[in-house]
């Protein structure tokens, strides 16, 4: 069955307020019900393998909604990374290539250069992007590659059992920092998005969170801006999304969400770090 044969779904409402979307599409006038929340057509009907309270489901949904809304799916090639989200290709009904650990920005470079008409995004966790993949992300950004990077930061290596990542908060206990992260031994959390924002090739860099519906809406607006940046041919863009890992953190899903809302932004401030297109439009560029 082709994608086109999938029945059209109503436009989802969640998170759309901040993105400035219109109202949900109405069902036929004769029907007393209208669809206010539905599965984006780009998401497969497969149940995910993610743990209860994991943020990947929300972030997958935001990406899928945007691929639907911007009608990008038929020309999108996704690049999956290594970590819990390696199976992203099972949940998105689009072409996907799996990358070696950390190399997704280089793989995406190859895809985009070989197929300039494709819409290309990477979906990477913080172990992948901020540790083993630092060379690849920095140089893809420096080259101003026309790709969108979805950077999911939960401050831990989830898939391998909750070890410390370069993004782990100071004092945070993990299976490889059982006494808590000590900067004298393990250094400091890396603010990747701020670092990348220094590079002129980076057209857009922002950090959002999935702490609550308000933040989810703002994060979706950031992702939309990132995708539109690529569509405008304006350069590299990255949206870091502060996310959860209740199992790795030893918290309940509710505690984990509260942690993302209240504690994590002290180390990783939310907001747009750079938007060079907007700056140029205002004459700041």
């Amino acid at each position: 069955m082709t994608r086109e044969a999938v029945p059209a779904t109503g436009r989802p409402l969640i998170g759309d307020g901040a993105a400035g979307d219109g109202p949900a599409s109405a069902a036929p006038p004769s029907s007393p019900r209208r669809s206010v929340y539905a599965r984006p057509s780009v998401l497969t009907e497969r149940a995910t393998h993610y743990c209860p309270g994991c943020g990947h489901g929300i972030i997958h949904r935001l990406v899928a909604e945007l691929l639907d809304e911007l009608q990008l799916a038929p020309r999108t090639i996704g690049v999956a990374s290594v970590g819990c989200s390696v199976f992203a290709y099972d949940y998105f009904d689009i072409d996907f290539v799996e990358s070696p650990h950390g190399r997704a920005p280089a793989v995406a470079t190859g895809v985009r250069r070989a197929r300039p008409d494709a819409f290309v995004f990477t979906y990477q966790g913080d172990g992948d992007l901020a540790a083993i993949g630092t060379a690849e992300i920095v140089h893809a950004a420096a080259r101003g590659e026309q790709i969108s990077v979805v950077f999911v930061n939960n401050g831990i290596y989830g898939m391998t059992g909750g070890q410390m990542a370069p993004t782990t908060l100071l004092g945070q206990r993990t299976t490889s920092s059982p006494q808590g992260r000590d900067p004298g031994v393990a250094g400091y959390p890396i603010p990747i998005t701020e670092m990348l924002a220094l590079l002129p090739g980076v057209a857009y860099a922002a950090r959002g969170s999935i702490a609550d519906p308000g933040h989810i809406g703002k994060t979706k607006a950031m992702l939309r801006r990132s995708f539109e940046t690529q569509l405008a041919g304006a350069g590299f863009s990255i949206v870091e999304v502060l996310s959860t890992c209740p199992v790795g953190w030893g918290m309940t899903p509710v505690e984990a969400m509260r942690h993302v809302a209240e504690d994590v932004p002290a180390t990783y401030p939310l907001g747009v770090v750079v938007d060079r297109r907007a700056d140029a439009a205002k004459g700041k560029g």
Binding site: A73, V97, G110, R115
Partner: protein, 359 residues
Amino acid sequence: MTAGLATRPRLMKGNEAMADAAIEAGCDAYFGYPITPQAELLERMAKRMPELGRTFVQAESEIGAINMALGAAATGAKVLVSTSSPGMSLMAEAVSYMAGSELPVVLVNVMRGGPGLGSIGPAQGDYFQATKGHGHGDYRVPVLAPSSIAEAVALMADAFEMASRYRTPVLLLADGIMGQAMEPVVPVFRTPRWDVSGWNLTGAAGRRPRVVKSLHLLPEDLERHNRHLQAKYAEITERETRWAGEELEDAEVVIVAYGTAARVARTAIERGRGAGLRAGLFRPVTLWPFPSRALAEVASHARAVLVVELSAGQLVEDVRLAVDRTPVFFHGRTGGMVPTPGEVVERVRLAWALTEPPR
């Protein structure tokens, strides 16, 4: 240039000739990183690919280059990557992924002395790496070993064709002399058959989405995938094994050598024959698949086999596995040193003296 048309001889440097051959073969994208002694290949591509409206990217590292190649190959592009020994080690990870993901790509390794940073002189110390793996896991990569610049040009088109036909990385294994030397060449360029239909990523417009991946988490799935790969390697072995023989009809001592070592051997054979030593050359053109059966047959008529390498002894292991009773001798130089024809003649003489005619 029209495919297959021979032109007047041109003085060509190996690295540049390989670049030209790839371009004439229709290479869509090149990714590389500067390293001696292959830098002229990258430089040639830097100049010519943009002129032709094709993709050239100088990556941040060999790791970056090979992963860009992975991404471009996933779209079905005809991709070339070149490097020298230390760079090949860095590329090993992604070569394993590409073998597992069944992606076509042509790799060039212009070998230099090792281990480690080694030297920038010619060497053949990457034979094990090239033929027995590179990265992790059960996979093979066809390895083509030219011993002249003209042959390197011809093998480039063959490499692309094999890469597409079998959906596999293919390695052109040269050495510092092959890369740096200049010789007159009548380049015979050819446009290879190239078919990526049915699997390449283009965006899923009008069809079911495709996934290019090497992950198969269920053991049953991965074993099935590995059996598929092994069946492919068996087919490559059956169909693509190549070698060349010179002066083997009456050879009492068979020299086995490839690349630059084969050229030294050729000179040694001429000199040896001048002195009454009947030696011949068995030159594997594919190092994997290795021409074991052909070598066993050739060796069975000889008194002795002498393996000559620019290494401490790597090819010799495959030769010993292939040859039945005939004694196998070895002569190798390393670190950028090259055996002289005189050394080889002496080894032939010694091998002859220490052995009996075959029964």
